[in-house]
Symmetry: C2
Subunit: 207 residues, 2 copies
DNA sequence: GTTTGTGAATAGTTTCACAGCA
DNA sequence: TGCTGTGAAACTATTCACAAAC
């Protein structure tokens, strides 16, 4: 390997491998082969080996991958080792669900601040985190927050995205069903639940 | 065009185009060019034209695409025109959020039944839909439901998936962070929120 | 014997550039 | 003139097959 550009598709799969590795590690397993991991995650063994080959040799022929090392490496590649504070904007149904979602902590994410526009919510606490007024959505930089989660209605998402960018955010997880335009230096990942559901019938055998 | 296999990537993008088309149509717009739609959705114009070219000529050179026709065609291709009843399993935080999520109805999806294992929830109503005991998760076929949404803890997801398959479901939207094994005839789409978040730091400029 | 790591072959997708139609 | 539709070229990703390592 060495000195290859890492395919985006590989980056997309790394968190999946990480999830599997953490799961096994918690069960006390110490080593795993590419084919065992593959079966568990529903992918191909050669895909896993190829993906790992972009980063270095962390496996041992005849044995497999040591989970501790594997987890450490993937965490480092994805820059999850440092931990990340995130600001959640919009504490409605979805936002509330996200607040109590255990999956974030597992990857070192911490929702450190929440914001809403609804005066009735502002000042209250949800999961022990204070809900602040969106107008206070400034200088996240100073609070060490570089990551925003947008869970507001579609209409407001572009505006909120711009506020987040101004506040110093460099990555946005967007749950609103809209494309949001931001400067190239900011990375946006959009999760549109209905969008994924919408292609399910296409793949379903005739009904 | 004609007689090409449709790339999966194109199928993945069709709901995005549909969303954009519906949005414009609601605003009273009647025609749109590939480049207008592209700007609005943050994609390339030639990508849109290429994608549409797999299905037939629904555009008019010099004019663009008539939104009414475009929407009808995409809906038909994705088989969203008939409407789909879905069964939601797991009425916790996420499940509740999904119940009040407006995005489903927009694509003709209707959460027609909900199930939970928690006896305290069973019998109650949420968004006017009765929460039934998971043991009643049978014969969805008879109720005209061929689509399942899994919003239960990871541990239980494989078991629930198997119950859904037995009940006649042909497509599953899985929100649990686990690979679930099902017969090939059943299509599973997994949405793992933490997984998408996990690759954000990789793309964020050094922090 | 088992399992990794990886070049080479294959498959799939995006981008381009432009002919042809309204 | 403006915009679509699409082959061909360029690029990217997946799959294979096997030599090397344990």
């Amino acid at each position: 390997m060495r000195y290859h550009r890492i395919p985006d598709e590989t980056v997309r799969r790394l968190p999946v491998y990480l999830r599997g590795a953490i799961h096994l590690s918690r069960q006390g397993v110490e080593n795993v082969s590419s084919s065992e991991l593959a079966t568990m995650l529903g992918v191909n063994a050669w895909q896993i080996r190829k993906d790992f080959s972009y980063f270095g040799d962390f496996g041992t022929p005849g044995v497999g991958y040591e989970l501790k090392i594997l987890i450490k490496h993937i965490n480092k590649i994805l820059r999850l080792n440092t931990g990340h504070k995130a600001a959640l904007v919009g504490v409605g149904n979805l936002g509330s669900a996200l607040l109590s979602f255990p999956g974030f902590a597992a990857y070192g994410f911490d929702i450190a601040a929440t914001f809403d526009i609804d005066k009735r919510k502002v000042g209250r606490r949800k999961n022990s985190i204070l809900i602040e007024d969106v107008s206070r959505l400034r200088n996240l930089r100073r609070r060490g927050i570089y990551l925003g989660i947008i869970a507001v209605p579609a209409k407001a998402s572009q505006e909120i995205a711009e506020m987040l960018v101004k506040a110093g955010v460099r990555g946005i997880l967007n749950f609103s069903p809209r494309y949001i335009a931001v400067p190239k230096r900011v990375k946006v990942i959009t999760i549109d639940i209905a969008m994924d559901l919408a292609r399910l019938p296409y793949y379903m055998p005739s009904s």
